[in-house]
């Protein structure tokens, strides 16, 4: 119960940051249009290849990767905690660090669910991705599962860059690009050597994407969602360990700054 309350209290921070980043207008015209352009960029490769199937495949893959890109902003927003100088106070408080950080960057989850819903439901039909009322309604929860479980993974990345603030954006962008390559967004996972397939099985995004594709093809997304949730929990546990290790390491080498010194 305490965990949930700390998490909830931390989401207030996420909401405040989001409100400071965007207005409704800038979110729509700057952010949403950027995501649509990104999805179109990949979809047009399908056009270049002259294959409607590839168009569909790339549109869905690029949309889910847009979720990844946005959720990985967690790398940046986690370090805002260090910038605010609150890290020592958090470590020295009786609250759980994971609960704080899990609430801290949650704003990217609803935002990415919104952008990806628009891409799939509004842009999708122009490129052969069609929905019935039923599948459209089912799509949103599947996207929520994908974004939330990807967020669990992003929390691990965010915890790592807390001690390497300079490279927070590099980590986020390289991870995003790697996942675009290997998680089945642009080519099937089976295109890559077998061990790559085994590694990406550990990533919730791979399963979330599989669920979205299944739904778009009129199939059942439940299997993908369950796998995404299971792997998501796994990464949440890892995030907790990494944050704990960060705090303990900081206590040993004195890297947890205090006030201005």
């Amino acid at each position: 119960m305490h965990w949930i309350r700390v998490f909830a209290a931390s989401t207030v921070n996420a909401a405040a940051d989001f409100a400071a980043t965007y207005t409704w207008r800038t979110w729509t015209f700057a952010w949403l249009s950027r995501i649509i352009a990104q999805v179109l960029f990949f979809t047009l490769i399908g056009t270049l290849l002259g294959s409607p199937d590839k168009q569909r495949f790339l549109l869905i893959g690029a949309t889910v990767m847009a979720i990844v890109a946005e959720v990985l902003f967690t790398c940046a927003s986690s370090t805002w905690e260090r910038r605010a100088g609150t890290l020592p106070l958090l470590v020295a408080s009786p609250g759980d660090l994971l609960a704080v950080f899990a609430g801290r960057s949650i704003q990217w989850v609803p935002s990415s669910v919104a952008t990806s819903s628009v891409c799939l439901l509004v842009v999708g039909p122009f490129f052969g991705v069609h929905w019935t009322w039923g599948t459209a309604l089912a799509l949103v929860p599947v996207l929520v599962v994908t974004a939330v479980t990807t967020y669990c993974f992003a929390l691990v990345a965010g915890a790592f860059v807390l001690n390497a603030m300079d490279i927070r954006n590099i980590v986020a962008n390289v991870l995003g690009a790697l996942m675009t390559a290997f998680c089945g967004a642009v080519v099937p996972v089976s295109y890559w050597p077998g061990w790559v397939g085994q590694v990406v099985t550990l990533l919730p995004t791979t399963h979330g994407l599989r669920a979205v594709r299944a739904l778009a093809d009129g199939g059942n997304p439940v299997g993908g969602c369950v796998a995404a949730l299971l792997t998501g929990v796994l990464w949440l546990v890892v995030a907790r360990l990494v944050l704990h290790r960060l705090a303990e390491h900081g206590r040993r080498d004195g890297t947890i700054e205090f006030g201005d010194s």
Binding site: T26, A30, L44
Partner: protein
């Protein structure tokens, strides 16, 4: 000229301390793998050139957008802009030097892409080496000119900053960095024609094809013309920035 070199040296120092400014160089090799995987999976060896060139062009644009777009602003933030302005008539060459270094560094992305192609076991021959090199130089020049525009725009209009992150992919589409603009609907052509990247990417891709390059002189002229427009606009905007700093004594946001 000496001021240009000072700008170069200064920018090299800045880059050495902040690797994140050249983030696109870290992403470019992975992007190459993404695009090569797509064209190979589709069994289209004729499109390997597209896949190898695109990450370089994207890196060039992204670095100009993020890094150059923040050149002046970082000085403002650090409180050193006023000091720089106080050195009369030095701002333009100084900025030029810095932009040249950033642009040159970003060209490294093309080499990275080429290396990734080699790792994929692919050879990327260049049947028209002279055209390729000239087009590449023209592209770098145009990019440097337009980077100057970005540097000033983001200072003059604060609201533009929020669009900074958003100006990547729309221009990757309009600049035809991977999918030639010829494949886009006709109604966007007026738009793509004024984006220098669209001329660059078409020229560079044609230089990788065995077929003779059509109307090279005309297309190069278009590219250089757009570079000149960028240079003029950049110089004009910079003078506007300096005027504002001088009249207000500082560069407070509008």
């Amino acid at each position: 000229m000496r001021t240009v070199l000072t700008g170069c040296w200064y920018q090299l120092l800045v880059l050495r301390r902040s690797p994140a400014d050249l983030m696109a160089l870290f992403v470019a090799p992975v992007n190459t793998a993404v695009f090569l995987a797509i064209v190979r999976h589709a069994d289209r060896p004729d499109l390997v050139g597209h896949a190898v060139l695109a990450p370089g062009l994207m890196a060039l644009w992204a670095i100009a957008l993020i890094t150059c777009g923040e050149l002046i602003d970082a000085e403002r933030f650090g409180g050193t802009l006023e000091a720089l302005v106080a050195v009369p008539a030095r701002m333009l060459p100084l900025l030029t030097g810095r932009v040249v270094v950033v642009t040159t560094a970003s060209l490294f992305a093309f080499a990275e892409s080429w290396l990734v192609a080699v790792l994929f076991g692919l050879r990327v021959p260049i049947p028209h080496p002279a055209i390729f090199v000239i087009s590449m130089l023209g592209t770098a020049l145009a990019m440097a000119c337009w980077a100057g525009v970005m540097a000033s725009v983001f200072v003059l209009a604060r609201s533009a900053r929020i669009f900074q992150n958003a100006l990547g992919f729309p221009f990757f589409v309009l600049g035809g960095v991977l999918v030639p603009v010829a494949m886009l609907p006709d109604w966007v052509r007026p738009l793509t024609n004024v984006v220098f990247l669209s001329w660059s990417s078409d020229l560079l891709r044609d230089a990788l094809k065995t077929a003779p390059v059509q109307d090279f002189a005309g297309r190069l002229t278009a590219l250089l013309g757009l570079a000149a427009v960028g240079a003029g606009l950049g110089a004009y905007l910079l003078s506007a920035v300096l005027k504002r700093v001088r009249s207000l004594g500082t560069l407070t946001y509008a």
